[in-house]
């Protein structure tokens, strides 16, 4: 009963995003991810904070985080794909592409041209999320005991980052047309 209901919830959630098989597979995958815990009746075990009274997670926790992240991102392939064929091609390239040495060169080129500020942003927001993980929202109580000016500077920095990196309306430069 529990398994059936879980599947119904996730598949309907997927279908809610759009009438496409990709969303249904995305929902079903998330339901499948729950199966090991459901079948062992452990689905309500891991509900507390991770690394509750520590600065860093244990190796076991880190492994759990990486597996969860990996599985979630894998399901997102279906969520973002145009159709099932597109998702299938993406996954084929992702795993079978490891055998093609040219892909390593392409990856190197991509990393070479990677905007360094994005690395800074990713690290910055990971840190905020990590230190604010006990709250519903990461920055909710992050600087609660800090002087007002420090909080103001921090909030202003967040606003600056939003302005600086927000994606404006897609404006393909049309100089070459005009």
């Amino acid at each position: 009963m529990k398994v059936r209901n879980t599947f119904i919830i996730f598949v309907v959630s997927g279908f809610w995003h759009g009438a496409n098989w990709t969303f249904i597979v995305w929902g079903a995958l998330n339901a499948i991810y729950f199966l090991p815990l459901l079948l062992r009746d452990k689905n309500r075990v891991h509900t507390g904070d991770i690394a509750a009274n520590r600065l860093l997670p244990s190796l076991k926790e880190l492994k759990g985080m990486l597996i969860t992240f990996g599985l979630t991102v894998l399901a997102w392939v279906f969520f973002r794909a145009e159709d099932m064929a597109h998702a299938g091609q993406f996954l084929m390239d992702l795993f079978l592409g490891l055998a093609d040495y040219m892909n390593y060169y392409k990856t190197y080129r991509l990393l070479y041209n990677f905007n360094p500020s994005l690395v800074f942003l990713i690290i910055f927001f990971y840190l905020i999320e990590w230190f604010g993980r006990h709250n519903d929202f990461a920055i909710q109580k992050l600087l609660k005991n800090s002087p007002r000016i420090i909080r103001f500077i921090f909030y202003s920095l967040l606003i600056y980052l939003i302005f600086n990196f927000m994606v404006a309306e897609e404006t393909p430069f049309i100089y070459f047309q005009f």
Partner: protein, 308 residues
Amino acid sequence: MKRFIKDFFIFSLVSSLILGLFFLVGFELLPFRVMPNIKYIGEGYGFSDIRFKEVDTLNDIDILFLGSSHAYRGFDTRNFDSIGFRAFNLGSSAQTHDETQILLKRYLKELNPKLVVYEVFPNVFKNSGIESNLDLINNDIVDYLNFKSALRVNNIQVYQTLAHAYYKQKFKSQNKIKSYTRSNDTYIKGGYVEKAIKPKYTHSTSRKGWELNELQKSSFKQNIEMFNSENIKYILVFAPVSSSYYESIDLKKFNNFIRSYGNYYDFNRISNMNDSLHFYDPHHLTQEGVDKFNTDFIHILKDHVLIK
């Protein structure tokens, strides 16, 4: 509630100052690649930097050309100089009617033209105006007209580029012109840009239709009103495009709209252009095409719009 309003007010004030400081530090210290919303064009594709410097030195001309690249790549000012007309081409890349209006407010009185040739290109009427705003901000002076235009366009890239350009204008020295030739293009005194490229037949695959952006429509209308109020003679011109491109436009709708604003000359019906000889892309003329178009234009000018 009272405390919330007070805190909100204090935060708004302090964060505005801190934000300003962050932006200043960014402008001064950070490379453009980490400020993706600042579109610094520098030596622009359409030579706007040189054109806007040259226009500052002129007054009392005979013919002023306005419009998009079809103006600054379509009206060769040498062809007009050679028959005694003092002409200047103030066209710029993807110039929208909103941008034209800024240029008119800045330069029309000084230039005091006897005739304005206002090039009208269908796609410009549906343009949001972001690109042309960025071009103007980067290559001309920044004044309150840019701020008003930025508010109308309301785009984060325009706001940030404007802030950066204003900072540059206030605290940095102006860029020196490095070259009058860029890629295949050469800037000709008078605002024209000559392209040294062979003709190429390209079939346009544009979808049939024509759309009208309300901002461009209202700016276009105001520009026409400006000519009328200043008693400046003007004509509206659709420069030649390839036949496949021309067929993709909803001509009935477009021509009816333009005609209602003044004397309109569609050179696609006047000039007999050859798609294989006179174009290097679906809607830009080669130098041979420009010379042919200008010859036809000068005939019309002398026969119907004579100003001398």
